[in-house]
């Protein structure tokens, strides 16, 4: 197919791999926008999700936050913030953080809540303080879900960081918004493929991190079954 061969030609052309407009440079920019937003989101969302889960209050909001977060029109937020502060990295970061926070809050909350009440009682019976309970018991048990939340969040951010190019910044989205006015289908297709690949890689890498961070005694499957049940019950 013509389109396919054009695409492969574009992807493998040497100009694509060097210089400030090359794939490596743009990938680095793309990752920078994404990881910055993910980091900020984690700093904001983890304390909230974990805190609310530990205190066992505000559950309804925490559970539904993810779903409502999905409705955030990232394009609208980017443009609004742009209209307020102008050209720069702030508009895209605000939008990315806004979509990254909800899944982390919800998953951390549910993870904390999945701790068996009996286990909590046993720990308290052993004389643990609230803080010790949190750090030594609840967090390790909640970790699979917390990581799942961070994973989902980050992959979404990587895909959405494409919009940075809409407001004049760099990143892999540039291939989409540059290729379009020039009618360059290979560039647009190439950009789309690159973002998809980057998102998938992010998913894989974070999956490995999750495997490393979760303690051996906890199978991921049982944790995900717990999510299913919790979401069902809360819904």
């Amino acid at each position: 197919m013509n389109v396919l061969t054009d695409l492969i030609q574009w992807l493998t052309a040497p100009e694509q791999w060097s210089g400030p407009d090359g794939i490596p440079a743009r990938t680095v920019q793309h990752l920078w926008y994404s990881l910055l937003a993910a980091a900020i989101a984690i700093v904001i969302a983890l304390p909230i999700g974990i805190g609310v889960g530990h205190a066992r209050r505000g559950g309804l909001l925490a559970i539904n936050l993810t779903n409502l977060g999905r409705a955030i029109p990232s394009l609208g937020i980017i443009i609004l913030v742009f209209t307020l502060v102008g050209y720069g990295v702030v508009p895209i970061e605000v939008a990315l953080v806004a979509i990254a926070v909800p899944p982390i809050v919800t998953n951390s909350f549910v993870g904390m809540r999945s701790v068996d009440p009996e286990v909590r009682e046993a720990a308290q019976g052993m004389g643990m303080t609230g803080w010790q309970l949190l750090v030594r018991v609840e967090l390790p048990i909640a970790m699979p879900l917390v990581m799942a939340g961070i994973r989902t969040s980050t992959v979404q951010v990587v895909a959405t960081a494409t919009l940075a190019a809409y407001v004049g910044l760099g990143g892999l989205g540039r291939y989409l918004f540059d290729g379009l006015p020039q009618g360059d289908l290979s560039q647009v297709l190439g950009g789309a493929v690159l973002v998809a690949v980057l998102s998938l890689l992010t998913e894989l890498v974070l999956g490995r991190v999750q495997a490393l961070v979760v303690s051996d005694g906890l199978a991921q499957q049982s944790a995900e079954a717990a999510v299913g049940a919790k979401v069902q019950k809360a819904a």
Partner: protein, 225 residues
């Protein structure tokens, strides 16, 4: 004109008179938004159903189906819409096809999980009672899978409401039209209106679907723990 912080503090975030003058346009944008959402979620549901049934019947197909739709999901939505243009132009199909594809992944996954989640014992009991596979599906498995399926429907609907705004870049957009207006005019009012309305729309849709779920599964309400 807008110089950053000083103007921010000075009132003009929302010019109410503009809203009054453009009530018709806003209403049209909202209706288009509802239309795009409704049609693509419906299409997604109708398409996801046979795909989910196939995946349940032939479990080996589940992984590839999931992989394919999952890969599509990582393509940034704006790219998918742009890539459809040479084929379907600016007609509503471009927006609808893109939106439907995105709802597919969510719905297929949830339908499969829901159907698989039906207890083996229940299925065997139905078979023992002489239910045909069709009756079994519609009278036993589906109703029991309903909570999980509707959870997926909620997610799909709310996600679609957000994605519809992206179609503004290809001539549609529903409430997203207001974003483009605000952008080209350097004017926050249509932006705020667009964001608030799409958030409210998502909230309302979510509530509606939760209500639907409660209505369709009365037995779940009485479950204790």
């Amino acid at each position: 004109m807008t110089d950053g912080p000083p103007t921010l503090l000075a009132a003009e975030l929302v010019r109410w008179s503009w809203i009054g003058d453009h009530a018709d346009d806003i209403r049209d944008a909202l209706l288009q938004h509802l239309e795009l959402t409704g049609l693509s979620v419906l299409a997604g549901t109708l398409l996801a159903f046979p795909m989910a049934l196939t995946a349940v019947r032939w479990p080996r197909l589940y992984a590839p189906i999931l992989g394919f739709t999952g890969a599509l999901f990582t393509i940034p939505s704006i790219a998918l819409f742009i890539l459809l243009i040479p084929f379907t132009g600016l007609q509503i199909w471009t927006a609808l096809i893109g939106l439907t594809i995105y709802t597919l992944l969510i719905l297929v996954r949830n339908m499969v999980e829901g159907l698989r989640g039906v207890d083996r014992d229940v299925r065997e009991a139905a078979q023992a009672m002489g239910y045909t596979p069709a009756r079994q599906l519609f009278q036993v498995e589906l109703p029991l899978a309903l909570p999980v399926i509707i959870a997926g429907l909620r997610i799909a609907t709310v996600t679609t409401i957000g994605l519809v705004t992206v179609t503004a870049l290809i001539g549609w957009g529903g409430l997203g039209q207001l974003f483009i207006t605000g952008f080209t005019l350097d004017f926050t009012t249509p932006l705020v209106v667009g964001i608030v309305l799409s958030a409210l729309l998502a909230f309302a849709a979510d509530l509606l679907l939760v209500g639907l779920q409660r209505g369709l599964t009365p037995w779940a309400r009485t479950r204790g723990s």
